[in-house]
């Protein structure tokens, strides 16, 4: 029942992502145009509307699906690995590393009219270096535990954030505004190239996370108990943290820092289907994708011809939805 509902939600998000926008284009015409692309019937969109739908809205919607799916499943995986309900995909320094990388790129180019083209690559590298350093400090050796890894992540995030603050203090006011916009996250500059960049990372990494659901269920009883049951805890931890971090780094480098998805979506799914990660993780993929596309639809339409930062919308929509579901669950239990 819940699975069917999330799939329906995703379909609704896809339709809304393509149909709703500042320009009024009918759903029927879009559907006819889509069918014409596969050789059925005739295209009903004129050239301009076709460009708007297939070159602006469609890549943005697909990138939203990929980013939402990855952030949600990464958040759920982190919560399982660290057995901490407050864990999110940025726990091990991905956000701080990506933020520092993007800041270096933007500040280096100072007052340039364009955001430097190498910003995503530097953000990606920054995120991976941050997680690698966190792992080297807190995840290696026989005495390493999830706690040492979390503490290393906190320390690394603090260090990289302070480096970013130092750079911003040296930068011009113009660069400050640009870094700030990047930090708030957006799908506005999405195109098919950015989808191609992110797609393999999201497919591979989310698949690994979903497949780790059974192991995470075993680990939920405790690391010692999981070892006693024959599970290689360190190996699982390494694979899941690596996959979740790599996927998150790829997404963040393209869309910026979109908060709340990675923490709120797994919790909403958990409230709906229970505590088994075998169900939480695949449903987080679907629900996260739908959630982000719907939030982005609000972000790009509510203030048109301007846009709202996507991170603001995810928080404004996500928090009340979470509270409502939590209240309903309490009502059912009592």
């Amino acid at each position: 029942m819940v699975s069917a509902a999330t799939v329906v939600a995703t379909l609704v998000a896809v339709v809304v992502g393509l149909v709703v926008g500042p320009t009024s284009i009918g759903a029927g015409a879009i559907l006819a145009d889509l069918l014409a692309h596969v050789g059925v019937g005739h295209a009903r969109l004129n050239a301009l509307d076709g460009t708007i739908v297939w070159q602006l809205r469609a890549p943005r919607m697909v990138l939203g699906l990929l980013a939402g799916a990855m952030l949600a499943v990464a958040g759920g995986s982190y919560q399982g690995i660290f057995r901490n309900p407050l864990a999110d995909p940025y726990l091990l320094g991905v956000a701080a590393g990506a933020g520092l990388g993007a800041t270096v790129a933007i500040v280096h180019d100072g007052g340039a009219v364009n955001v430097p083209t190498w910003t995503p690559w530097l953000a990606f590298a920054g995120a991976l270096v941050a997680v690698a350093l966190t792992w080297l400090i807190g995840g290696r050796g026989p005495r390493s535990t999830t706690s040492t890894l979390i503490l290393a992540g906190v320390a690394m995030a603090a260090l990289l954030t302070s480096a970013q603050t130092f750079l911003l203090q040296q930068a011009s006011a113009q660069s400050l505004a640009r870094v700030y916009i990047w930090l708030l996250g957006s799908l506005a500059s999405a195109n098919w190239s950015s989808v191609e960049v992110v797609l393999p990372y999201v497919l591979l990494c989310s698949l690994i996370c979903v497949m780790a659901g059974r192991a995470l269920d075993v680990m939920s009883v405790g690391e010692e108990e999981a070892r006693a049951l024959g599970l290689s805890v360190r190996q699982v931890r390494g694979v899941v943290v690596g996959a979740a971090s790599l996927g998150t780094a790829a997404v963040v480098s393209v869309v910026g820092l979109i908060g709340f998805v990675g923490i709120i979506v797994p919790h909403i799914v958990r409230l709906l289907v229970g505590t088994s990660y075998r169900r939480i993780l695949p449903l987080s993929v679907v629900f996260g994708a739908a959630f982000l596309v719907l939030c982005d639809t609000v972000a790009r339409t509510v203030l048109a011809p301007s846009e709202l930062p996507l991170g603001v919308v995810t928080a404004i929509i996500g928090a009340p939805v979470f509270v409502i579901i939590l209240s309903l669950r309490r009502g059912v239990r009592s």
Binding site: P22, Q174, A188, R300, P305, E307
Partner: protein, 298 residues
């Protein structure tokens, strides 16, 4: 409708490419719908007679009054614009020109995909680049003659201020130009305003603090500013002369002590088009005021 530029052309213009661009645009027809996401371009467009073609502007375009009315209507945030919605502001992409000073959300590429012509004009690094931008706007909007006349007049006006500046041996005016306070952002001689101040023969206290990362707009330590003891302070941010006097230690600065703290209007301080003449006039008058104040040179 006849197109005025090749489809999808994004024109990133700088002074050095001007002759090339002039040749490529020769014979092109006028855009009938202009959207300006740059306050400087907005002011210039209205000044050169292209106001009737301007259909929408960003929320910071408050000069002239006709532009301010448009700004209130659409409330476009140039730092976070929607390409689809910007394109929809005009009846046809073929007749639309969008002027931007910052390529937020990769809007230049997205509008270009939709067949809209985009002109990118970021903050110039010199006065000659600022004049070139006025001529560019004239060319792409179909008001080249008027724009050229404006650029020539502006250039002559600004040059006149520098030439009329009294030169007294031993009276070198040191200036602190404040863009914002806490942190204290200033500008160096590598910017278009800084290059004008240099032409007046003043010393800019921010010049030694220039780094590659700040693009000519460094942040200064307040202790450094107090120690530099400028004769003249130009306030381009929100601060007032009274507020500057209240800052700890600043009352010892000559500019504060002798009342040479000048507040610039937001438009004067942030635009590099027609209003540059007014800014040059304010700065040169302020510098002359310091030179003629015997208390400063005691």
């Amino acid at each position: 409708m006849k197109r005025f530029l090749p489809r999808g052309l994004v024109v990133a213009l700088v002074a050095s490419t001007w002759p090339l661009l002039s040749a490529s645009l020769a014979g092109a027809s006028m855009p009938t719908c202009i959207v300006s996401l740059s306050p400087t371009a907005t002011d210039t467009l209205f000044t050169i007679g292209a106001g009737a073609q301007v259909k929408a502007v960003d929320q910071d375009s408050t000069v002239p009054l006709a532009a301010a009315r448009l700004a209130r209507k659409d409330k476009i945030n140039a730092l976070n614009p929607s390409a689809e919605a910007i394109a929809a502001l005009c009846p046809s992409p073929a007749s639309e020109l969008v002027v931007i000073s910052y390529n937020a959300n990769d809007i230049a590429k997205q509008l270009s995909t939709l067949g809209v012509t985009v002109l990118e004009q970021d903050a110039p690094s010199s006065l000659s680049a600022a004049y070139a931008q006025i001529r560019q706007l004239g060319l792409v909007s179909g008001h080249a003659v008027k724009a050229n006349a404006l650029a020539v007049a502006l250039q002559a006006r600004i040059l006149g201020y520098a030439q009329r500046m009294p030169r007294h041996s031993g009276k070198v005016v040191s200036v602190y130009y404040e863009i914002s306070a806490a942190p204290y952002y200033s500008l160096t001689s590598s910017t278009f305003v800084g290059s004008f101040m240099r032409s007046l023969g003043v010393v800019n206290i921010a010049d030694p603090e220039n780094t590659s990362a700040d693009a000519g707009y460094p942040s200064l330590n307040p202790e450094y500013i107090v120690k530099a003891n400028p004769n003249l302070i130009l306030l381009a941010g929100d601060a007032t002369a009274a507020a500057v006097k209240q800052r700890r230690g600043w009352s010892s600065i000559k500019a504060v002590r002798y009342g040479h703290v000048v507040v610039l209007t937001a438009n004067e301080a942030s635009q590099w088009g027609f209003l540059l003449g007014d800014l040059a006039q304010r700065i040169s008058a302020s510098v002359i005021g310091v030179i003629n104040d015997p208390r400063v040179w005691k």
